[in-house]
Symmetry: C2
Subunit: 160 residues, 2 copies
């Protein structure tokens, strides 16, 4: 990829780009690496016609049958309006249902259909393979350290 052999063009061109300052920031490492993960996850989910958010929502609904949208929004840490289109999509594909809650006519109880559970199972397996591939050169200690460290960050949401 590295194209060498430049003619002499100084002052108005740069032989090698320095990005040392940028990479002194932890956040930049997070951004660049997450981009790679997110792109590969999108490829992984494409055969299932799921996106990152619809996959996340489906998985949570499968594991928490009867949950309400506000609970799902909290679990995913997104605003409720964004969830509506996600739920709409999953419902229109008949992967989940919006059932009425007996004592609260405002809320819906979200449940996965059989097709939803089956698709979720397959998607989870694919995502596990994607993670195994992507993080294969992390040893167990590294993985634990990273997860613990990242957990410290996303648990501070709101306090910063």
């Amino acid at each position: 990829m590295a194209k060498v052999a430049k003619t002499l063009k100084e002052k108005t061109d740069v032989a090698q780009v320095s990005d040392a300052t940028l990479y002194s920031f932890v956040g930049y490492h997070m951004k660049r690496s997450f981009n790679v993960v997110q792109a590969d996850l999108a490829r992984t989910l494409r055969p299932f016609k799921l996106r990152m958010t619809t996959y996340t929502a489906l998985l949570l609904i499968v594991e928490n049958p009867g949950m309400r949208q506000v609970q799902l929004a909290n679990a995913m840490d997104v605003e409720r309006p964004n969830l509506v289109v996600i739920i709409d999509e999953l419902e229109s594909r008949e992967l989940i249902t919006r059932d009425q809650v007996p004592n609260d006519r405002r809320a819906y109880a979200l449940k996965a259909t059989l097709a939803g559970r089956r698709l979720c199972d397959k998607a989870v397996k694919a995502v596990k393979m994607h993670e195994n591939k992507l993080f294969s050169d992390w040893d167990e200690e590294t993985k634990e350290t990273v997860i613990r460290a990242l957990g410290l960050i996303h648990r501070r949401k709101g306090e910063v």
Copy 2:
């Protein structure tokens, strides 16, 4: 969509949401924590009227005077079309200039103005404070491990 309500309330509501499976994925930790970082970075850069991408571009141009847009695109790992609007914005604010390259009339040599360098300095200081605050409870070893681990991921781009 509205189906018959279940008699048992447990079936249509969830006391506590389980997200154990989700958090068994490294990628989900990355996503959640990066969201927190990105949101705080945006707040940090707002007084300078910079966004994440314009800040990144400005910093790289300041540190690599004379670089071309294609070099900047490679350094930032974004496609060239996305860079045009970023460069336009920085140029219209007179933080950078697009100078002609003598031997190549296709390319522009990007350089920061004095105002651009000054704004960049201030922004970098603010971002350093933002990082110090956000990652204050990581010890040095954790930080090194995380940076090294994330580096392993974003250097695999294209090979996965």
